[in-house]
Symmetry: C2
Subunit: 217 residues, 2 copies
């Protein structure tokens, strides 16, 4: 088990760890046994110094001149980001976004098991999506507890989202991924990630608008 | 027009500008005329120094002791991130994710106009989604040109994504948002953002796995 204590890790670093994890899979498949920080950097359009700094948070992996052992590094990163185990996930809201998530095969492969689906639409309650029954959202708090749900995905309209999040927090779940286009408040012990497709688009328009701008990764 | 030259702007800064833009709308609605860097920081869980640094990239907005003028700052950020105009957008792939995007009202409100939809499924070609006709993807390059599309959203299966991206690049479009769960290659003059829901989930599992870890925004 890799221990990380007293270090300050940015969300950007966590994001890059996820990217390294995926890249190391590609390298494994291509038959590489070791990889240098320069190779990792080149493939992710980063600097070797950045790669070494990211990986140094977790102790000394690499050997100078030999690089990092691909399989071992991938396994260590999996442990660090917590995807070497299964996670019990619930989904609230089975509209277009919710349906896309339930059908998303990479989720299951990576250990994210959607155990429960909730909605408030009587026409959807009782129906099945990929074999998972849709439950009435009025039972949310009680069922999250009963099924030991660790992560909740909120894919409901903006106006309903804070109410759902409050129930999720009250149930003791500490990790929420929201697709609702609204600002949400959670206590500081809860981790909330908000997906906002409009914000992704704004990265694009920023670059289109500022074509000659230098920018960093 | 705000000019930004010779500065290096990180993707994290661009992301925070989008968040400030949204927060300033909330402040406008609440009747605030000015806002301090501390207020902005508190609401976004950042430090006032970070806020001042982000906003200083674009010249001097604020007045010491008085804070930033809310309406003007919001307008300036809109100009900087390029959402003070309309953008012609095309969508490739009208599955669950594509359908969610077409139905997403915030898109339209922010000036992202989905003008064209493409798919390769004969059952979908010729159908309409929110009044937009679905075209055969074989006509992608030619139609992107004809309709002056500036941004393309790629929501096709992983195996098809690179082929679509190549056509988009060949059509001269310089901004792509991908939902395909695969690594994509584009020339350096093209801006590509990849949405990967599994990576978002890994931010959550990282925090669940490293509960006592200090981390920075």
């Amino acid at each position: 088990m890799v221990r990380i204590t007293g270090k300050r890790i940015s969300e950007s670093t966590i994001h890059r760890l996820s990217l390294y994890y995926r890249l190391l899979k590609v390298l494994q498949d291509e038959g590489y046994e070791t990889v240098s920080s320069k190779d990792l950097a080149d493939r992710e359009k980063l600097t070797p110094a950045q790669v070494r700094k990211d990986l140094s948070f977790f102790g000394q992996f690499g050997t100078r001149g030999l690089g990092y052992p691909v399989t071992e590094l991938r396994q260590q990163i999996a442990e660090i980001i917590g995807i070497n185990k299964k996670w019990n996930v619930a989904l609230v809201g089975i509209g277009n976004v919710g349906s896309a998530l339930v059908s998303y095969k990479e989720f299951q492969k990576q250990g994210f098991h959607i155990k429960l689906i909730f909605d408030n639409d009587q026409r959807k309650i009782g129906s099945f999506h990929k074999g998972i029954e849709v439950h009435d959202v009025v039972n949310l708090r009680q069922m999250l507890n009963k099924y030991n749900i660790e992560i909740v995905i909120v894919a409901v309209p903006g106006a309903a989202a804070q109410g759902v999040v409050n129930e999720v927090v009250a149930a003791g779940v500490n990790a929420i991924l929201s697709f609702a286009p609204t600002n949400l408040r959670v206590p500081s012990h809860v981790t909330l990630r908000s997906e906002n497709m409009a914000i992704e688009m704004e990265h694009l328009t920023f670059h289109l608008t500022n074509e000659n701008l230098y920018y960093t990764a």
